[in-house]
C-alpha cells in the first residue's frame, strides 16, 4: 500500500519559543481516514499547517504524495484540499461566489466549476441557498460550505482541522456521513484532527493520540482500546452481602479476573483482561449456583478517553468547555457586525 503522507521527526518551534510540535512521525495510507486526536494546544493544527506548507517546519521531513512540501509546494497544494479549524468563508459573498472563487484559484475552467460546484453544493445540501450571502448561513452550513470549497478541485487528500468543532450533535453526524462517503465513493484520503474522542473512534481507520507536541500512541481505535488491557464489568446483586463472600473468591479465582472491588452497597466492579463479554455468562452461572440473584450487569469497554488517560495521566476533556463557548461567541460576534 502506498503512503499518501509521510512525516518524519517533525519539529515546529514558533517564534515566541513555543514548541508546538516536538518530534512527530507518522504515515497515512492512501484511502485511509487518519485521525489526529488530542486536547487543545496539543499541536494538531500546527502539524496540519506544516504538512500542507502553510508553516515552515523547524526541522523534519514531510512528503505528500511523494512530493516534498518544502521543495514542491505547488504540487502539494494542487492535490490537497484544506478546511481550516476556523471556518474561512467570506460571509459577504454568496455560497456560490465563495465556491466559484475557490475553483478559480485552482485554475479550473468555468464549465468545470459549474459542474463540480453544483455537484458538491447538492451533496452538502446547500444548493437551494447558493445565491444567499454566506453571512445568512448557520454555523453548520458555513462549515459545510467551507468543506465544499475544499473539494471543488477533487483533491486526493482532504485535510480537515476539527471539522465539527462547536457544532450540534445532528450536524456533527451529518458531517461524519459526508466524510465517510468521500472516502467510500471517491477514494479520498482523509486526515482529520479532533478533540472529540467519539469522532476519532467512529471515523478513523487509525488514530494518533497527540499530547504536548508528541504522538503518544498510534493504532487502530480497537487495538488502542484493547491495548489498555481491561474491560470493566459492573454487577449489581439483588441479595444482601452475607452470602457473597464465596462467590467473590470464586470470581477472583478465574484466570481472567484481575480485581474485584465493591463500589457501592451491592455494586461490584470486576476488572478483567479483555473479552469481558464472554465472561458475563460464567459470572451469571456462578451466581446462580450459589443462589445469588443478579439485579443488573453492565460491561464497559475502554474508550479512547481511557486510552488517552492511560498514556498521559490526564483526561482529554479538561478545560475544554470554555473554549468552545469562546468560539461560539466569536462566530456570533462576527454575525452581529454584519
Amino acid at each position: 500500500m502506498n503512503n499518501a503522507i509521510e512525516v518524519e521527526n517533525l519539529i515546529k518551534v514558533y517564534k515566541n519559543g513555543v514548541r508546538a510540535v516536538d518530534g512527530v512521525s507518522f504515515s497515512v495510507h492512501e484511502r485511509e481516514i487518519f485521525g489526529f486526536l488530542g486536547p487543545n494546544g496539543a499541536g494538531k493544527s500546527t502539524t496540519i499547517k506544516c504538512v500542507i506548507g502553510l508553516l515552515r517546519p523547524t526541522s523534519g521531513t514531510i512528503r505528500v504524495l511523494g512530493a516534498d512540501t518544502g521543495q514542491d509546494p505547488g504540487v502539494v497544494k494542487r492535490n490537497i484540499g484544506y478546511a481550516a479549524q476556523e471556518t474561512a468563508v467570506d460571509d459577504r459573498l454568496t455560497g456560490w461566489e465563495n465556491l466559484y472563487l475557490q475553483g478559480r484559484f485552482y485554475h479550473l475552467p468555468r464549465a468545470e466549476i459549474r459542474r463540480r460546484g453544483e455537484e458538491v453544493l447538492k451533496l452538502f445540501g446547500l444548493w437551494e441557498r447558493r445565491n444567499d450571502v454566506a453571512g445568512t448561513y448557520s454555523g453548520g452550513m458555513l462549515k459545510r460550505l467551507d468543506i465544499a470549497c475544499a473539494l471543488i478541485h477533487r483533491p486526493r487528500i482532504l485535510f480537515l482541522d476539527e471539522p465539527t468543532l462547536g457544532l450540534d450533535v445532528q450536524t456533527r453526524k451529518t458531517i461524519w456521513e459526508y466524510i465517510e462517503m468521500l472516502r467510500g465513493e471517491h477514494g479520498m484520503t482523509i486526515f482529520l484532527t479532533t478533540h472529540y474522542m467519539e469522532e476519532a473512534d467512529a471515523l478513523s481507520d487509525r488514530v494518533a493520540i497527540i499530547d504536548r507536541g508528541k504522538i503518544v500512541a498510534l493504532d487502530r481505535p480497537g487495538a488502542l482500546k484493547a491495548g489498555i488491557g481491561w474491560d470493566l464489568i459492573t454487577v449489581r446483586f439483588s441479595t444482601d452481602g452475607g452470602e457473597l463472600g464465596g462467590l467473590l473468591s470464586a470470581l477472583l479465582a478465574l484466570p481472567e479476573v484481575r480485581e474485584v472491588r465493591e463500589t457501592e452497597d451491592g455494586i461490584y466492579r470486576i476488572a478483567v483482561e479483555r473479552n469481558g463479554d464472554r465472561l458475563i455468562p460464567r459470572i451469571v452461572r456462578l451466581a446462580e449456583a450459589r443462589g445469588i440473584g443478579i439485579h443488573s450487569i453492565r460491561l464497559k469497554r475502554p474508550t479512547l478517553n481511557d486510552v488517552y488517560l492511560h498514556y498521559t495521566g490526564r483526561e482529554i476533556r479538561e478545560a475544554e468547555g470554555s473554549r468552545e463557548e469562546l468560539i461560539r461567541s466569536r462566530v456570533m460576534a462576527r454575525r452581529i457586525r454584519r
Partner: protein, 260 residues
Amino acid sequence: MTFLSDVWYVAWRELVKFFRAKVRVVVTLIQPLLWLGLMGNVLEGFTKSPYVQQMLGTSSYLSFMTPGIILMTVLFGGVFSGLSIVWDRRIGYLEKLMAVPISRGAIPLGKMLAAAIQGGIQVLVIILIATAFGVRFAAGPLGVLLILLVAMFFSSILSGFSLALAVRVKTQETLMAVVNFLTMPLMFTSNALFPREAMPGWLAAIAKVNPVTHAVAPIRELTLRGWDWGAMYPGIAVTVGLALAIGIWAQWTFRRATAE
C-alpha cells in the same frame, strides 16, 4: 497567464463586495460632489484677483482644484486597501489564500487593482460632476482617459503601501492610525489644492518632492492647458515608477511575511 488570472480574481472578490455594499457606493459618489460643490464655490471668489489667476494658471478655482480633488479621492480610497488584509487575516481567509495554488504576489496586486478600479470609477464621477459645474477639460476625451490612468497608478502607490504595511500590522486600529498620520500631511503639503507660489518657502520645498505634487502636474496640465508631453512626462514617470516600485515591494513583503 495564471498569474494574471489570480490577480484578477483577488480583485474580483473585492469588487463584488464593493458593489454589493450599496451605501458604500453611494457615499463614494456623493463625497466628490460635496468637495467640488462646497470648496469650489466658497473659494471661487478669490480667483477674481488677477494675481491669483496668474498663480493658478486659470481664472476658475474649480478647474484648478478638480485635479486635486481627483487625487485626494483616490488617495483616501487607496490607503484603506490594507484594512481588507487585516480583516482577511482575522477571518482566516488570508490563510485560505495561502493554501490555494495561487502566487502569493497576486494577493497584493489583486487588491491594488481593485482599489484602482474603485478609484477610477470615482474619478469618472468627479469628472462628470466637474463638467456639470462648468469645468472644461482642455485635452478632450483622450485627455480624460489619461487623467484616469494617472489617477489609477497614483491610487496603487497608496494601496500598495497600505497593503505592505498591513502584512506587519495585526490590528485595524494600528493600521488606521499610521495611515491617518500620513495621508493628511501628504495632501496638504502638496500643491493639489493650493498653488505652490502661494506657499511659504519651507512648505513649497516639501511640496516639490511630495508625490502628490508630481501626480497632480500632468492631470492639471491636461485639465487646464491640453497636450504638452514635455510638461507631463516627469510627473507621469514619477507616478508610474513609484507605483511599480511599491507594487514590487508589496509582493515581496507578502512572499516573505507569509512563509513563516
